[in-house]
């Protein structure tokens, strides 16, 4: 069973962040939200591992749950 990675794992993090912002550039807020939703689903499919996905969902809530 693998664990969710919560330490730095992206090479060129600034480049990634700039590309993420560029992807949103020019979109209406609603379209931006829709893009984020699609992105979440695409990334989730790439991860695949159900346990890791559950950990990610909990992590995103920012609540320390035992």
């Amino acid at each position: 069973m693998s664990d969710l990675i919560l330490t730095s794992n992206i090479d060129g993090a600034d480049d990634f962040y700039a590309e993420l912002l560029a992807t949103h550039e020019g979109l209406e807020t609603g379209d931006s939200h829709a893009l984020n939703a699609r992105l979440v689903l695409i990334l989730a499919n790439h991860i695949g591992d159900r346990e890791v996905l559950s950990q990610a969902l909990r992590a995103a809530k920012l609540k320390e749950e035992e």
Binding site: I5, L6, T7, S8, N9, I10, A13, D14, Y17, A18, L20, L21, H24, E25, L27, T29, S32, H33, N36, A59, L62
Partner: protein, 536 residues
């Protein structure tokens, strides 16, 4: 208040050139006695090139201005004989805190790499920096070096010719003309030289205003960089607190676009803002306040015939990341050895085109980094703000988000990848010392590596044989023979050999790598010397 920025350091004195029947001709004239102009002049004079600095003022700059000096510029200043007073006076810092809303989200330690003579950063008011450089000019003069600084000499017209430049200069006693073989324009972001030549300066203006305040207080804030995103005392904006010498604190408060600058600058409006930030019980005195709007832009070309632009006159960045004065010093570091070889007839004039290529590469990297920081600090859309806030929220809980927090990517020197002066990498060595890279320092038992390099071409051999001197078409290269055993900490091995057992590096006068191989090869290194001097 008796501050150094109120005392004339190089007062006007009438010069014989003003009464000359025909304009006097100088080798190099530097326009502007800011940090970059002074550094350029010192660099040239140290190498025996006659240089005159003209400045429309006679004092160091007013207020703290550039306050954060990175390791590479300190190493350059060491080469110019002005590094030690900077480090002695400056405040060394490594720790920082990031705040979001009403809470601290994380703290960091820059953890500078061991085995360097100079610290990662120091904070020092620009007026001290300029004073140290003026002192160095006077020291060089006393040693008989051909350097001179003329206060209250304002350039009012420029004429460009294929082999020289003419300047018309206004002084308190009238105007006079000078000629120069070369002119280096270091007259700042508003560069009158650039305007007089009618050159472009395009880029992005950021719609924002920042209040900068130098505050004197006897507070027990630690020597750290504190950055606030959206704090309660400056809602929707950012704030920065940073320590300088003499109990002076630098405070930057983002104000937004639609403000009345004159009104915001008044003490009765500034002081309540600062009290909200520092707390009501902190005693402070306001030393200097300024409001600025910044731009990210550069000239399309830095060299225009015999007029060469360096520092803010050539490129401007946002202040986030301390890339202004730091990159300007890297400009003159790059330029001066090339100009020296061209003036001495040892390299073709086209060598100067590599200054454009290499420093435009540097400027673009700085503009990219500082633009990204600006976009993070001031999100342009609702979604970029949402993503930015998500990064900050996550950073409080998870390490992975911290590298994404961008309140300025602090200045590091660029590697001149793809420069026409580089020879192909022929060593399976570390990435960080590939051709084009600035040489990283390393401890050598009795001292450090970098002070042994610079001003001239060097052949650095590590456990490799090579001649002690090579002369190739007027360029003399002297060998510095080292062994991995010279550095018991193995930093030298790790930074210059990697998995290899020997290496030979050709190092430029600005301490950048021009070529490297595992062993010496006469034909290839002679070609590399020609290439590094614009002859191939």
């Amino acid at each position: 208040m008796n501050k150094i920025f109120e005392t004339p350091l190089y007062p006007y004195a009438r010069h014989a050139d003003e009464d000359a029947p025909v304009p006097a001709r100088h080798k190099v004239i530097v326009v502007g006695a800011g940090p970059i102009g002074l550094a350029a002049a010192i660099d040239l004079a140290q190498q025996g090139i006659e240089v005159v600095i003209l400045d429309d003022n006679d004092k160091v700059s007013f207020g703290s201005r550039a306050i954060c000096f990175a390791k590479r510029p300190l190493e350059i200043l060491d080469r110019l004989g002005a590094g030690q007073p900077m480090v002695d006076k400056g405040v060394v810092w490594n720790l920082g805190k990031v705040f979001f809303d009403d809470r601290k989200v994380y703290d960091f330690n820059l953890l500078p790499e061991e085995g360097h003579q100079r610290p990662a950063f120091i904070n020092l008011q620009q007026y001290y920096f300029e004073e140290f450089l003026v002192n160095r000019v006077l020291e060089l003069q006393a040693e008989g070096a051909p350097i001179e600084i003329r206060g209250r000499n304002k350039v009012s017209a420029v004429g460009t010719h294929p082999d020289h430049v003419t300047l018309e200069i206004d002084t308190p006693e009238g105007s006079y003309n000078l000629e120069a073989d070369w002119v280096i324009a270091c007259d700042g972001a508003g560069s009158p030289m650039r305007a007089m030549l009618g050159k472009d300066f395009v880029g992005r203006v950021f719609e924002d205003n920042f209040l900068i305040a130098d505050v004197i207080m006897e507070a027990d804030f630690p020597t750290e960089r504190w950055f606030w995103f959206d704090p309660p005392f400056n809602r929707g904006q950012s704030a920065l607190l940073h320590k300088q010498p003499d109990g002076v604190w630098r405070i930057d408060l983002q104000l937004g676009w639609d403000i009345d600058k004159e009104r915001e600058k008044r003490p009765e409006n500034v002081i309540p803002r600062l009290k909200a930030m520092l707390g009501d019980d902190v005693e402070f005195e306001l030393e200097w306040v300024s409001i600025y709007t910044f731009q990210c832009r550069r000239m399309e070309q830095f060299r225009h015939g015999r007029v060469i632009f360096a520092g803010d006159s050539a490129h401007q960045v946002s202040p986030f990341g301390a890339r202004g004065a730091n990159s300007g010093l890297q400009d003159t570091d790059n330029l001066c050895w090339k100009l020296k070889l061209v003036i001495d007839g040892k390299a073709p004039e086209s060598l100067l085109d590599s200054y454009d290529i290499e420093r435009i590469h540097g400027a673009d990297e700085n503009i990219l980094n500082s633009t990204r920081s600006t976009d993070f600090i001031t999100p342009k859309s609702e979604m970029s703000r949402m993503l930015r806030d998500a990064v900050l929220d996550l950073s409080e809980h998870y390490e992975f988000a911290r590298p994404l927090v961008n309140s300025g990517r602090l200045s590091v020197p660029c590697t001149y990848d793809g420069s026409p002066l580089n020879s192909a990498d022929a060593l399976n060595g570390p990435e960080r010392t590939r051709p084009g890279s600035p040489c990283p320092d390393a401890p050598l038992g009795d001292g450090f590596l970098l002070p042994k390099l610079g001003d001239k071409f060097t052949l650095l051999t590590i456990d490799a044989e090579a001649p002690d001197v090579i002369e190739e078409d007027g360029i003399e290269v002297t060998r510095l023979a080292l062994s991995v055993k010279d550095d018991p900490t193995l930093a030298l091995k790790e930074r210059y050999l990697g998995d290899e057992t020997s290496a030979v590096y050709l190092i430029r006068p600005d301490q950048h790598v021009a070529a490297r191989r595992a062993s010496y090869d006469e034909t290839l290194f002679r070609a590399a010397i020609r290439r590094a001097t614009g002859k191939e």
